[in-house]
Symmetry: C2
Subunit: 216 residues, 2 copies
Amino acid sequence: MTLGPARRRGLSNEVADVIREAIFDGRYPPGAALREVELSEALEVSRGPVREALRSLEGEGLVRTEWHRGTTVTVLSSQDVAELDSLREALENLAVRRVVAADASLEAMADAAAAMDRASTPHEMVRCDIAFHDAVFAAADHSRLVQAWQAIRSQVHLFLITRVNVSTAGYLEQIRSEHRDLVAALRLGNVEGALKLFAEHRRHALDLLTVPDGAN
Amino acid sequence: MTLGPARRRGLSNEVADVIREAIFDGRYPPGAALREVELSEALEVSRGPVREALRSLEGEGLVRTEWHRGTTVTVLSSQDVAELDSLREALENLAVRRVVAADASLEAMADAAAAMDRASTPHEMVRCDIAFHDAVFAAADHSRLVQAWQAIRSQVHLFLITRVNVSTAGYLEQIRSEHRDLVAALRLGNVEGALKLFAEHRRHALDLLTVPDGAN
DNA sequence: GCTTGTCTCAATGTTAACATTCCTACATGC
DNA sequence: GCATGTAGGAATGTTAACATTGAGACAAGC
C-alpha cells in the first residue's frame, strides 16, 4: 500500500487555491481589484497568508501587483496571448518528445480525454482541456518543465474561459475529438506526427477563440 | 530623453537581492539553512520581508522550503542538471529563433561578450556568462520567455559556480571565444547555424563541468 | 482655464508578539 | 537492547497593530 507524503499545506496554499478558483469561476473578472483586507475578512484569515497567496498567484501570472497600488486580476492583451502560444509550443514540444522517447504511460491522458465526455458546460470543458495538458506534462517526467507549464497554465486557463464566453459554437464537440486524436498519435509513437497534431490543436483553439475581436 | 519608470521596489525585493548575492558569493553553500530570524537580524528588517524574499527565491528554484522545517539552499542532483539543460535548450531555441526573425539589436549581447575580457576570476566569468544569456533572452522581446528563463537562471548560475570551483582548467579562455562565435552567428542571421552553436555551447559547459564526479 | 500645492483617506508595507509544529534527547517499559 | 512515550526547545506559521505610500478632491495662484 503506497501512500503519498502526508505533508501539511499551510493556510497560504489553501487561500491561494480559493482565490484561484474564484477567478476561474468568474467572480473576479480580469482587471478586478483583489484587496487584501477584503479577502482576509471574507476568508476569515489574517492578511499575512493572503499576501503570500497573492504573491504565489503573481508567480503564476494570474494577478499583477504594483507597489502600494494593490493587485488586480491579469488582463491578457493580444500580445500576451501570442506570447503564451509561442512559449506553450516550446514547452509542449519538449514534453511530447520526452513522452514518446520514454514510452511513458498514457493512461492518465486517456482518462482526462475521456472525462471530457462527462463535461456539459463550456466551463467544465475548459477545466478538462487544461487537465489533459497537465497530464501530458506530468507524463514527461520533468519537474522543471512542469513548473514552467504551471507558470503559464493559469493564464492559458484564463484565456480559454474569457474567450469561450464569447463564442461557444463548435468548441465543445471539436475539442473532444481533437484530444482523442492526440492520445492516438502518442500511442503510435510517431514524434513528428504527434508534434504536428499538437500544433494544429493549439492553432484551432487560437483561431476559434481569437476571431471575435481583433485587437486589445 | 527617455527614462524608465521610477518604481519603488519595497524591502522584500531588496532583501531577496541581498540573499541571492550571498548565495552566489558562496556564503550560503548548497544545503545551508536560511533561518528567518538570523537573516532578519543580520539585515535589520523584520521577518515579514524576509519571508516574502524567501518565497520569491523559492520561485526561482534557488531555495527549497518545507512546511515548518525551514528553507535551505537548493542542492542540484545530476538529474536536476539534466532537467535544467533540456529546458534551457527549449527556451534558448525559441529565443534564438525570435532574435534572428525579428533582426533584433545585438549590441547588448556584444557588450556582454566583451565584458568577459575584463573578468579575471572564475566567479566574475560566471556572472558574465549568465549576463550574456540574459541579453539573448532580453533581445527576444518575449516577457514570458524571459520569465521562464529567470525561473531557472539562478539554478544555472548555481550549477556553474559549484562546478567551476572543482575544475577551472580551460574554462575562462574557451568561454570567451565561444560567446564571440555566438554573436557572430547571430549577426549572419542563419537560424540553424546559430542553434547549432548554442547547442554546442551548452554541451561544452556540461561536459567540462560534469566530468569530475559521476553521480550525485 | 490650466497648473500647482495641500489635504485626506484608503490601501499596502512593515513590525513585533503570539500560536503551532517538528525535531532532539532522554526516560520508561518490555 | 530495542521500541515507544514524553518533555524541551527552536524554528516556522499566524495574527493584529503601526507606518508609509499614492491617488483623488479641492482650493489657491498664475
